[in-house]
């Protein structure tokens, strides 16, 4: 019996419990005693008691039984010897599992052939393609595994139904005019909401921890000093098992490239975004605003890879040719350069800056504007001397949030900034960023446990720490600003 079917039946039991519970509660309301909870709360309580424990049990049972099945298969596999045909025991077990899955697709009652060679055409006829190194001895093991799984599933389903019905009965028996079903339901709601918000936090913690462990492994082979303060990025290639040449993992060129490109992007995005925000919040008539604001926000909806393609296919060559034309032959702007990447990233960030600043500027109370205008200040004087200073902390926060986006941006720089880890001050040359190198180190056929791959985690963690600090500072500033007008 599949888990999905079990789940559906449990929910059906819950629905029945809900209906019965509501009716019972309504029938008990004879008007003599004021009922504590309205009838549908009793119904919901019965539903929740019927469904929640049963679903939890089902989940635990499913996970447990797949563990059990795993061990069962491993135990049934023949001892590994030197001339085993399959490379590893894990692979052996996984072949059995896919075979077991395939066998379920065969029509019931089909006689099973003893060799895989005969079995394969039958499976292919059912649309099941299996690895050709599946061995004959796996067939009985797979059949056995399937029957164990069936038994486990059936038993689990029975227990689940029993629990569900028991829960429903327990709740239905509790129904009384003064029973506090409403409080119970509300408490469960609270727990549900709490669980939802915990998931995000736990995921973040999980991500950080997983990166942390890989990073620690990386630092076992490369010293943190040479990583954080090294000025040369030259990871070399690692042949499997070779301990000799290590390569150099200097963070500085990547960090410099990241910050340089982000700075160019901010130089483009902040003035333009801020001015467009000022225009939209202070000058634009309602009809203009209703067109321009969505149009700007549309820019934010373009996938960054599209910006990257634009940069590498259109803007980069254009700037290179332009510079060649200006100097008469030798282009001083390279096809991939800090300037190109920063420019395109800046354009991408304009809507971020403008929409954040627009909210902040609009939040400055109208009384401030009136006060200034009432003293005979012009609109631009009011903006310059009252509104922007009042909104400044918020705007700084918005810029920091934007900066952390610029630092974490990947696709544009992968395409437009180049992969050469230079350390240069010339904005027209190629430079690379942390995100580009993470992509580079993790793609391709590198051995996973080599520092060449593990460095990606160290880079990722560094990036995470960098943007985390910026976000915390930004949020702190924005929050402080909010208090000012309350």
């Amino acid at each position: 019996m599949s888990s999905l079917l079990v789940l559906a039946i449990v929910i059906a039991i819950g629905v029945v419990a809900f209906v019965i519970g509501r009716q019972r509660a309504a029938a008990q309301d004879t008007g003599k005693v004021k009922p504590h909870s309205r009838a549908h709360y009793h119904g919901w309580w019965a539903f929740l008691l019927a469904v929640l424990p049963a679903v939890l049990l089902l989940a635990v049972w499913d996970i447990g039984s797949s563990f059990y099945l795993d061990r069962h298969i491993h135990a049934a596999l023949p001892e590994r010897t030197v001339d085993s045909k399959v490379a590893s025991e894990a692979l052996d077990a996984s072949l059995v599992k896919s075979l077991a899955k395939g066998l379920r697709r065969l029509d019931a009652g089909t006689p099973l052939p003893a060799t895989f060679a005969e079995l394969q055409p039958l499976l292919i006829a059912k649309g099941v393609a299996l690895a050709s190194d599946t061995q004959d001895y796996m067939i009985p093991i797979a059949v056995d595994a399937n029957s164990v799984q069936d038994r486990l599933g059936l038993f689990g389903a029975v227990v689940t139904f029993a629990l569900s019905v028991a829960g429903a009965f327990y709740a239905l028996r509790q129904i009384a005019p003064r029973a506090r079903a409403r409080n119970n339901v509300e408490r469960l709601m609270l727990w549900g909401l709490l669980a939802a918000s915990t998931i995000a936090i736990l995921t973040t913690v999980g991500i950080v921890l997983s990166m942390l462990f890989q990073t620690i492994t990386f630092f076992e082979s490369v010293s943190p000093m040479s990583f954080f303060f090294g000025t040369v990025w030259d990871p070399r290639f690692a042949a499997a098992g070779s301990g000799g040449s290590q390569g150099q993992f200097g963070l500085i060129p990547l960090l410099a490239g990241t910050l340089y490109i982000a700075a160019v992007a901010l130089v483009v995005a902040v003035p333009v975004g801020l001015m467009s925000a000022v225009y939209m919040s202070e000058y634009a008539s309602r009809s203009v605003r209703s067109v321009v604001k969505p149009a700007l926000e549309l820019l934010a909806g373009i996938p960054t890879i599209v910006y990257g393609i634009f940069a590498v296919v259109t803007l980069g060559p254009f700037l290179r040719d332009l510079s060649a034309a200006l100097t008469g032959g030798s282009p001083f702007i390279q096809g991939q350069s800090i300037f190109t990447a920063g420019l395109v990233m800046g354009v991408m960030l304009i809507p971020v800056v403008s929409s954040l600043s627009d909210d902040i500027i609009t939040a400055v109370p109208r009384a401030m504007r009136d006060g200034s205008l009432g003293l005979g200040a012009t609109r631009s004087e009011t903006i310059k001397r009252v509104i922007l200073p009042a909104a400044l902390p918020g705007i700084v926060g918005a810029i920091l949030l934007t900066a952390s986006r610029a630092i974490g941006e990947t696709m544009i720089v992968v395409l437009a900034a180049g992969v050469a880890a230079n350390l240069t001050a010339n904005p027209f040359e190629a430079m690379t960023t942390i995100t580009v190198k993470i992509v580079n180190q993790l793609t391709g056929d590198l051995e996973f446990n080599s520092p060449q791959t593990l460095v990606a985690f160290a880079l990722g963690l560094t990036l995470f720490a960098l943007t985390l600090v910026m976000n915390i500072v930004a949020l702190y500033i924005v929050r402080k600003y909010r208090e000012q007008y309350e």
Partner: protein
């Protein structure tokens, strides 16, 4: 522009000569109407504002008194849908004329708002804001002078003289409102408009501001919108009663509160509606 400055000068001279005269008309509204989009909020208001007097505008909520007040320094311009008809003059000049610069007008006709709205700057900078914009002080010492005298005129100098660099938003509500009055005075306006300046204040702060309004009358012309009958009676010399967008009646405050011509004024003042 030249004509205006000359007239301003003449008026300044005239002020001293007519200090006790009640008959100089500082501002005059002639058939003033205001529309917010399609809706008309004010109908044919004819009202004179006399120099060195306090004119109180009273009436139930939504009667158009604040709307009229905001016409006097064209603050309605800041509302997109608002449209003003009729004629309003300041010293005989039509303030809605094309040649009038609204910025200059607002420097001559200052405004104090219902809710104290100091800028999130220091007390000193709040007062120096207007003079700085209009370039009234050449040197730092001139500015200090303007700030000090404005704060003194607004009767708040003694409370803030030791903390001029602290933020204006840190003052109490009553102090903030007097700071806003000082801020308005600092640009040496001729007329000060006050839109329910005491509605957000406690009784003690209200008494201070009312005292102040009475003192300011010596040097400025004041128009005040108020919901409090007692306040109108205490501080004003002239009272105008608005109802549903119309000016019901206008006259000397004493007469309005003892023997009004219109039944509606009578009813409103005695609390029968409003």
């Amino acid at each position: 522009m030249n004509i205006m400055t000359e007239q301003t000068l003449e008026n300044a001279v005239g002020d001293k000569m007519n200090a006790k005269s009640n008959e100089v008309i500082k501002m005059r509204g002639d058939k003033v109407g205001v529309f917010y989009g399609e809706k008309q909020a004010l109908f044919d208001v004819n009202l004179d504002v006399r120099q060195n007097q306090v004119t109180a505008l009273i009436g139930p909520s939504g009667c158009g008194k604040s709307t009229f007040l905001r016409c006097l320094n064209r603050m309605n311009d800041t509302i997109d849908s608002a449209r003003v008809t009729g004629k309003i003059t300041l010293d005989e000049d039509d303030i809605y004329d094309k040649n009038i610069d609204v910025v200059e007008l607002r420097a001559r006709v200052g405004m104090v708002f219902q809710k104290p709205n100091p800028f999130p700057k220091s007390i000193y900078e709040n007062v120096a804001y207007g003079p700085r914009i209009h370039g009234l002080a050449k040197r730092k010492s001139d500015m200090d002078q303007i700030v000090e005298s404005s704060l003194k005129k607004a009767a708040i100098w003694n409370e803030v003289k030791d903390r001029l660099q602290e933020p204006g938003t840190g003052l109490s509500g009553g102090q903030q409102q007097r700071l806003c009055i000082a801020r308005a005075i600092a640009v040496s306006p001729e007329v000060i408009l006050m839109d329910e300046p005491c509605s957000a204040l406690d009784p003690i702060a209200t008494a201070r501001v009312e005292e102040l309004i009475d003192e300011l009358r010596q040097n400025y012309t004041i128009v005040i919108v108020t919901h409090s009958m007692q306040q109108a009676a205490r501080v004003s010399q002239r009272t105008a009663m608005f109802h549903l967008g119309y000016l019901v009646e206008e006259g000397a405050t004493d007469k309005m509160f003892t023997n009004p011509d219109d039944k509606r004024t009578q009813d409103y003042i005695t609390g029968r509606f409003g």
